[in-house]
Amino acid sequence: MASLDDELVATDRYPPVSFEERMGTVEFRVSERPHITVDSDVCRSCTTKACVHACPAKLFVPTSDGGILFNYEQCFECGTCYMVCNEAGAITWTYPDGGDGVVFRHG
């Protein structure tokens, strides 16, 4: 079955859109104040680091020393990261200031 899957992928895949291009379709009014903060010391003890793959905007990147590097600029403000976070207090998440952040046109 794996070969059939591969075949489907080969014929019906769309022109690949890079993640940067994907995020380039979204308007962000970047705030000066980060609305997400991550306590990397807490993250070091986390075994799952679900935020890394669950965040639809790929804002969380694991570092070699077991911590988490994060961005806040291109955040959808969905809340997935703190909902899936294992470790209480690792991710502090609020809304950006009024008028800042994501602006959806086709939501």
Binding site: Y14, T25, F76, F104, G107
Partner: protein
């Protein structure tokens, strides 16, 4: 008058001369008939006339007018009319009345020859005349020179003619739309030049904004040749010696330097305002008011203040809130509604209708800017917002076809329903973008009197000495808004409900993540691929398409885009190690979906959480001084074949607004005083539907529904239609048992371990 003469016929309304009137009179050598209301005034206003007959009459039916004018004009070799709207109306009727050929859009005209312009003045055609004719003259083609001696004006009254064929009633006369009115007749004009288009920005968009601002000021938009040559505005809007000659009362020039070719077409405006960074440019030099500033910035600010254009930001902010750094501590409202989504706007609307002063806070730059949904609104609840809402709601397509699809990676079985009854009032489902829909609904609340304050975040609840909620603090300087009642419609992450202790801080088990791609496809392609036409649309809900993660897929058609995406259980997503956009990619590659989307381009990627706990996981809906509605209250129905949210948000918002108005009337905004809210919801579809389907969320996300049923159904149907000759067809009963047994045995399909295919 000899047969070698020309005569101009000018239709006037209220004494105003149409564009090109003087040119037509000049081309006719100064002989004219002015007909209409205020005809004598209009006749005297002609600068190129020598002898004018003024016929006072209601414009009325052009056919009768033609018959009435016949005796005055039939001796002339050529009857010439300016190609103004009235002129173009009357000319063919005069041609019929006089039994002459009509030559439209002439640049020059004589008894023996008429020169016609075609293709935007690029082609000239000369036609020899061997008999009398009627012609219309293109405005701006020749200009008009004033004659020295004053003209003689002869007022005439003409008898209405006998019955004429043609319509008896005149067509309706509508006030001109400033956006399309002939620039030559516009009283106020906003002109755009190259300086209005910042580098790397879309000139067409800036000109569109100029048009929006102009409309708000009851003015018309025009442009310089640079702008029209670039294709940012139509040539008909070009002001200047090679474009339209205008004569407005007010001319506001945005980023126009004022080259002679432009100002030569300006006439003598009473007031000229020039916005330009260069204080010494000719335009500013000739202006009554020069604003030395960046033209695009001034225009954007103007748009913002007028509440037009794409950014309807801070539209009706109380004056105190507009002043930077000023205190708003004295702003008192009867109620503060937080969140201008469907729930908040509905709540604010009800309160405003009850005569209450209500603030509607929105943290985004405009309502809907933070919101994402699958794509279908079920609109019947809007009956309570505005009658015949379907006439004005910003709709993409009306859903007349819906499909439920069960899938495995290589199979699918669909249940497909079409009903044309859903394609007419009162309709059923519609696709729309939230930026459009939410802005429209918030606009309804504003019309009712609610004060919408955008780009403003409610940061915390204010409490009185007794602990009751007394307002919210905002992120504006000293931005406290006081009210005896707060309605929290601040969405799925509701920080207000959380800070009031009504919702848990984080609850991954009862939330799903929706990720969506909006993909553009030509309208005709959507019509063909999805077998819909006109403004009809399709929605497809899918199950079994999210791999190891419990959830589902969706595909909705908009006018020129389709929305496709997946909804994912947060706990499964966290455990799976898969990325959301990869799961959309898998769905898009499915053999049943891929051909539908071939060639589609990504327009926007978006994501949002969905509260899926249902009835059993809703928070307390009322506390001291606060009500909760919409997603903040978990009022989203995710029950398999029913996926609804916006209607529940509106329904709960209306109920919250009504309860709040009653509570304010009684002066009791305590939790007990607000208890009627829950009762009201229980009696309506909002809680009744949720209660009836309280077990649905758990069932829909169970491994049975997610994997076993789709596989079972797909395999069963596949076997049913696989012809295995020479073997005979299997009995249905036996097939059912056999398929069920195959699927039931084998390793139990747990979501996390199930392999694809």
């Amino acid at each position: 008058m000899t047969p070698r003469d020309l005569i101009a016929v000018i239709v006037t309304r209220g004494g105003t001369l149409p564009t090109g009137a003087d040119e037509a009179v000049a081309e006719a050598g100064g002989a004219a008939v002015v007909v209409g209301t205020g005809s004598e005034d209009a006749a005297r206003a002609l600068v190129s006339a020598r002898t004018v007959t003024a016929v006072e009459t209601e414009p009325g039916v052009p056919g009768r007018l033609a018959a009435m004018l016949r005796p005055l004009i039939e001796a002339a070799a050529v009857v010439l009319l300016p190609a103004s709207p009235d002129g173009r109306d009357l000319a063919p009727l005069l041609a019929v009345e006089l039994d002459r050929p009509l030559f439209a859009w002439a640049a020059r005209c004589s008894p023996s020859e008429v020169e016609l312009v075609r293709l935007d003045h690029r082609l000239s055609i000369r036609v020899g005349l061997d008999g009398p004719a009627v012609a219309t003259l293109a405005p701006g083609a020749r200009g008009a020179e004033p004659v020295q001696e004053p003209s003689s004006v002869l007022p005439r009254t003409l008898n209405a003619p006998k019955e004429r064929p043609g319509p008896d009633e005149p067509g309706k006369t509508l006030p001109a739309d400033p956006a399309t009115v002939d620039l030559g007749e516009a009283r106020r004009i906003l002109g755009g030049g190259a300086g209005l288009v910042p580098p790397d920005e879309s000139g067409a968009q800036m000109m569109e904004l100029l048009g929006d601002v102009a409309r708000a000021l009851d003015a018309s938009a025009g442009a310089t040749r640079v702008v029209t040559d670039a294709g940012w505005m139509d040539y008909s809007r070009q002001i200047g010696t090679t474009g339209v000659v205008v004569d407005p009362d007010l001319y506001i020039a945005f980023g126009i330097s004022g080259a002679a070719q432009h100002t030569g077409g300006l006439g003598a405006p009473h007031h000229v305002v020039s916005v330009n960074t260069d204080p010494s440019c000719p335009m500013t030099a000739m202006a009554d008011l020069g604003i030395v500033a960046d033209a695009p910035a001034v225009l954007r600010e103007l748009a913002r203040r007028l509440g037009v254009g794409h950014e309807k930001e801070r539209r009706t902010v109380p004056a105190a809130l507009l002043e930077r750094g000023s205190t708003v501590a004295n702003e008192r409202f009867d109620a503060v509604v937080v969140g201008a989504g469907p729930a908040g706007s509905a709540a604010a609307l009800e309160l405003a209708r009850a005569g209450r002063r209500v603030a509607l806070l929105e943290r985004g730059p405009f309502p809907g800017s933070k919101n994402v949904y699958g794509g279908v609104v079920y609109g019947r609840i809007l009956d309570e917002v505005v009658p015949q809402w379907w006439r004005e709601v910003p709709v993409q397509r009306w859903i007349t076809r819906r499909s439920t699809m069960m899938m495995t990676p290589t199979q699918s079985v669909s249940f497909d329903v079409r009903s044309q009854a859903w394609g007419g009032p009162p309709y059923n489902g519609m696709t729309t973008y939230r930026a459009d829909f939410d802005s429209w609904l918030a606009g309804k609340a504003e019309q009712a009197g609610a004060e919408l304050i955008t780009s403003t975040l409610a940061t915390e609840l204010l409490r009185g000495g007794d602990g009751a909620i007394t307002g919210v603090r905002t992120d504006r300087p000293d931005g406290e808004l006081h009210a005896p009642l707060v309605i929290a419609c601040d969405g799925v992450n509701s920080f207000l409900a959380k800070s009031a202790g009504l919702l848990p801080e984080a609850d991954a088990d009862h939330h799903t993540l929706g990720v969506k791609e909006t993909l553009s496809l030509p309208r005709e392609t959507i019509d063909e691929r999805f077998a819909v036409s006109g403004d009809e649309g399709l929605d497809i809900e899918m199950v079994g398409c999210t791999g190891p993660i419990a959830g589902g897929g969706f595909l909705y058609t908009n006018r020129e885009t389709v929305s496709v995406g997946v909804v994912l259980s947060l706990t499964d997503l966290a455990a799976s190690g898969r990325r959301p956009e990869d799961l959309i990619a898998d769905l898009k590659a499915h053999p049943s979906i891929a051909p539908l989307l071939r060639g589609a381009e990504l327009k926007e990627y978006s994501a949002h959480l969905i509260p899926e706990g249902g009835y059993d996981h809703m928070p307390e809906l009322a506390t001291e001084g606060m009500l909760v509605a919409g997603d903040a209250a978990g009022m989203c129905l995710a029950a398999g074949i029913w996926l609804e949210g916006v209607n529940f948000a509106i329904g709960s918002g209306l109920a919250a607004g009504r309860t709040a108005a009653e509570a304010l009337e009684r002066g009791d905004t305590s939790a007990a005083g607000l208890a009627r809210y829950r009762k009201r919801l229980s009696e309506s579809f909002v809680l009744a539907d949720h209660k009836r389907l309280r077990r649905a969320p758990g069932f829909v996300l169970s491994p049975r529904v997610q994997h076993r049923y789709p596989e079972l159904v797909c395999d069963l149907v596949q076997e049913l239609f696989t012809v295995r000759n020479p073997k005979p067809k299997p009995r249905l009963g036996g097939l059912l048992r056999r398929t069920a047994r195959t699927k039931a045995s084998g390793s139990p399909t747990s979501p996390a371990t199930r392999s694809r295919g």
